[in-house]
Symmetry: C2
Subunit: 540 residues, 2 copies
């Protein structure tokens, strides 16, 4: 028997309609690509998104078509984001920080018909266009006055403001099935081609509600949210939905991510909550320390995308009274996986114990389930010690990749590629990537733990730990270090230090001093390259 | 094109599974019908709900079957609630405060196969059973030791604990379509038979997420929630879902709703948030004032079901530092309609202005839309002055009543039966019921406003205002008053007082002093009866 409630499908455009109707005068503030700060209400934003949707329809964009964006977080990007998915098409946010060849692959694979591009990336795109014959037109996200020369483009190029002005706000948003695709975001693994995650309206809707809960991002109409996390990066952590859903002020930094710009925007717009990767906050912290300026209104920084250094949590808290909250997610999870929020039990902790806890990635909201398994698929206990492959599932977790017929799941679970522990209160902590963990006999050694131990030794500037082949143990850890001039980084000199925080069987079999450690495009240690070079250094 | 996320249907049992898995040790605390306080974890609760579901399956309960409950808020009621809907059957919570004839009608109309009944209501049910031949069995929600004599019942009667113990926890919850009916709750209008609202898993799921948001009930894992609002009354405002969803402690008062019991439970269980109708909180306030005992942990009382007196908001706030938050909803809305939460603009108010605002019913969360219309269906402005019929819609608003083929909607909107205003910030305030508003010429006069004005006059103990037929104006207000011994309640004596807060055209054409004013079963003024008696008092 079916219930008798109104079960009309709920399209994501309904969030912007809600905001325009109930928080119509609330601002979306953008530090524009062109420079000046722009201020636009939710009511205006809906009006403009509606015009854009009608213009896209007139262009011939149909349900399911992919429309690419190469853009910063701005009001125009937000309008495009809502117009495209509201229309039944798919908003494909492209990460401009990828290698050009990856961008070309992604646009081609997605079969984007149109690309919306910020001024910043026009040159990048222009270089790729000759190899992207499926692109029918480019829309440059600026006004007439700032329109660059596009005469050399192999396809038509429109000025965003002109394009939008040709639309009408007399447009009926279509009724879309709950599971209609809304948006597309590619993940760039270290191996193979990037893979597309195709979000649905339903997944984003549930995720958006969950994201506002006190135990997730804790958002309300009185908040002013600085959305540093890019819309092209893991679905902007859902904040591009949570803003309109709650009626909060949305503050969009455009391309201006330096400490001074971020600080100025937070102060001027009385930002209460902000979300970004750790590097942005460490830049801000440096700026605040050097300029001697605090921030009054800011209650919380949500940090994800990489592990947060304990020192950063401590510094923001003690020096500025700002709470740094650790979150973890993945593009494949829309992206919220866990947030570090207290339980009744952990609520009582303080001092070092609390800091230890706050360094963990956190606990799942309703809508995410997770478990740890060993290499044989045995489920591991939640004791804070056992570590294994982290598997996840739920209504906003991926089922399969775009254009990949095979399921992305094993027995209904998605393998995150992370190695983690989960404690008795449900707090998860990532200890390594599964491809980096060192399998020594029956035991796993976390490469990150060895690196952290090494980084604590005076004179060590950089450290990387990989597994090298070993006749008896299968693999054993090898540590590569970059030292400052005066350091003596022999194995003999380092072992006593390392033994302070590592067990005997976790100690590296070799320590190799190197000039430099190679990094990936994303700024992480390129362990793939290191493994190729040092994999056999123990077997000679 | 469909998204590629995991779109497995999400049954409501997943909330209890989440709680058992991630907040397994968290308590559900019940002041039992038998007397003692019982403490049971979420893990135990899931185990018991699973056993109950398996036992119901063995009994022959099938998908879509209606299972009635006549019960207080207790752990056993919560287990039944989850077991029944998780199994694909429909949990029909029956309001024991209705007239016996209405209960008989409801149980018969719902075709309940089984009734779960608290000790308190065994006698009531026993009296009705001879007229309810479709009931196949009764389960008395107690243990062996407290089992009453049921030998006279015309059907088998089980002891709950014995019944449950015959189940197994080796039971697979079925996969249910999103729109599967989960539960049934009848509304008792003042005219006609009660009407059934058939909730779906999807509506309850979205509603549950929304209910936890900071701008709704603001619930997290560290909360201890006192759920006074009955599960048989408007879906317990969704709190029976929000508790497990967040992992909060749930505190269930059973039948013990007096001031001392409520105060004791709040103190002992360190309750942070509580929800009930105003009468419960006014009883608590009286108890606190008389006993001189405050409550440390309590942050907020959410009040709905009737307008909250301004004096109550003030008293809790000033005397005890407890925030009283006004909410409004309907059984037909699962039930959340509005909650009085600040916007960026209203945030700045204080003193009397803030109190005025907090007396309003509040604003809609995403998931509810509302509008005001006049008698001709014209949409009225949100200016805080224009008042009209309040219409609502959204994914947790009713589409049609149970077994009523016709739609409950007009053009997609549900008429709440209330007359309200909405101000520029979206705050809605109910001014009257639409059947009570007095239509004088083209103008509407709020019967409630006239009553409030009258109640402010010394010597008036009770006041009721109805519309009487009028040759020229269609209707004109007539005021009925009950005075204390010394009062002179003639029209002439009262008009100058009334004119302080009412416009001239709103003043009653007649004031009639009466001995008593009739009340309905729910304790509200029985205006239907008054209208029958006084409808023609102006036309003679």
């Amino acid at each position: 028997m079916l219930g008798l409630m109104q079960n009309d499908p709920t399209s994501l455009i309904s969030m912007l309609i809600h905001a325009a109707r109930w928080h119509g005068a609330q601002d979306i503030v953008t530090r524009s690509v062109e420079g000046p700060v722009r201020r636009q209400s939710y009511a205006e934003t809906l009006d403009r998104a509606t015009r854009l949707a009608s213009r896209l329809r007139d262009f011939g964009v149909a349900s399911g078509d992919r429309i690419g964006t190469l853009a910063w977080n701005t009001d125009r990007h937000l309008e495009t984001w809502y117009a495209v998915s509201g229309q039944g098409a798919v908003c494909h946010t492209i990460n401009p920080r990828l290698f050009p060849e990856q961008i070309r692959y992604i646009v081609d694979h997605a079969e984007d018909r149109l690309i919306f591009v910020d001024l910043t990336f026009v040159e990048l795109l222009a270089g790729l266009l000759p190899e992207l014959p499926k692109i029918e037109a480019v829309v440059v996200m600026t006004d007439r006055q700032h329109m660059p020369d596009t005469t050399a483009f192999p396809c038509p190029a429109y000025c965003y403001e002109t394009f939008l002005a040709e639309g009408t706000n007399d447009y009926d948003w279509p009724i879309l099935d709950h599971d209609t695709a809304s948006s597309l975001c590619y993940t760039s693994g270290t191996t193979g081609n990037p893979k597309g995650v195709l979000y649905s309206h339903r997944a984003n809707l549930l995720h958006a509600y969950a994201s506002c809960m006190p135990d997730v991002f804790d958002l309300s109409a009185t908040d002013s949210i600085l959305m540093v996390v890019p819309m092209f990066h893991a679905n902007s952590w859902g904040l591009a939905y949570a803003g309109p859903l709650t009626g909060a002020k949305l503050v969009l930094p455009g391309p201006h991510l330096d400490g001074a710009s971020i600080h100025q925007l937070i102060s001027a717009e009385q930002v209460t909550r902000a979300a970004a990767v750790p590097t942005v906050w460490s830049t801000l912290l440096t700026y605040m320390d050097e300029s001697g300026q605090g921030i009054d209104t800011l209650e919380e920084l949500v940090v994800g995308g990489a592990a947060v250094p304990r020192s950063m949590i401590e510094a923001f808290d003690r020096r500025y009274g700002i709470k740094v909250t650790h979150a973890w997610g993945m593009t494949e999870m829309t992206p919220i996986g866990t947030v570090n929020r207290p339980t009744s039990r952990s609520h009582a902790l303080d001092g070092e114990e609390l800091l230890d806890l706050r360094c963990k990635q956190g606990r799942v909201p309703y809508g995410v389930d997770m478990q740890l398994v060993d290499d044989d698929g045995n489920v591991l206990p939640h004791d804070g010690k056992a570590f294994g492959r982290l598997l996840v599932k739920g209504p906003w977790t991926i089922a399969s990749y775009y254009k990949a017929p095979e399921s992305a799941l094993e027995d209904g679970w998605f393998d995150t590629g992370d190695i983690a522990t989960i404690d008795a209160d449900g707090f998860m902590q990532i200890t390594d990537r599964s491809k980096d963990v060192i399998k020594s006999g029956g035991e796993w050694i976390s490469s990150v733990e060895v690196e952290n131990a090494a980084m604590g030794i005076p004179g060590v500037r950089m450290a990387a730990c990989i597994g090298a082949r070993h006749r008896k143990w299968g693999e054993r850890p090898v540590l590569l270090v970059v030292g400052d001039e005066r350091a003596t980084l022999s194995r003999e000199a380092m072992l006593p230090h390392l033994a302070n925080s590592l067990a005997k069987w976790q100690l590296p079999d070799a320590v190799i001093e190197v000039e430099d450690i190679p990094l990936t495009a994303a700024g992480k240690i390129d362990k793939k390259q290191l493994r190729q070079k040092y994999r056999d250094c123990l077997s000679d």
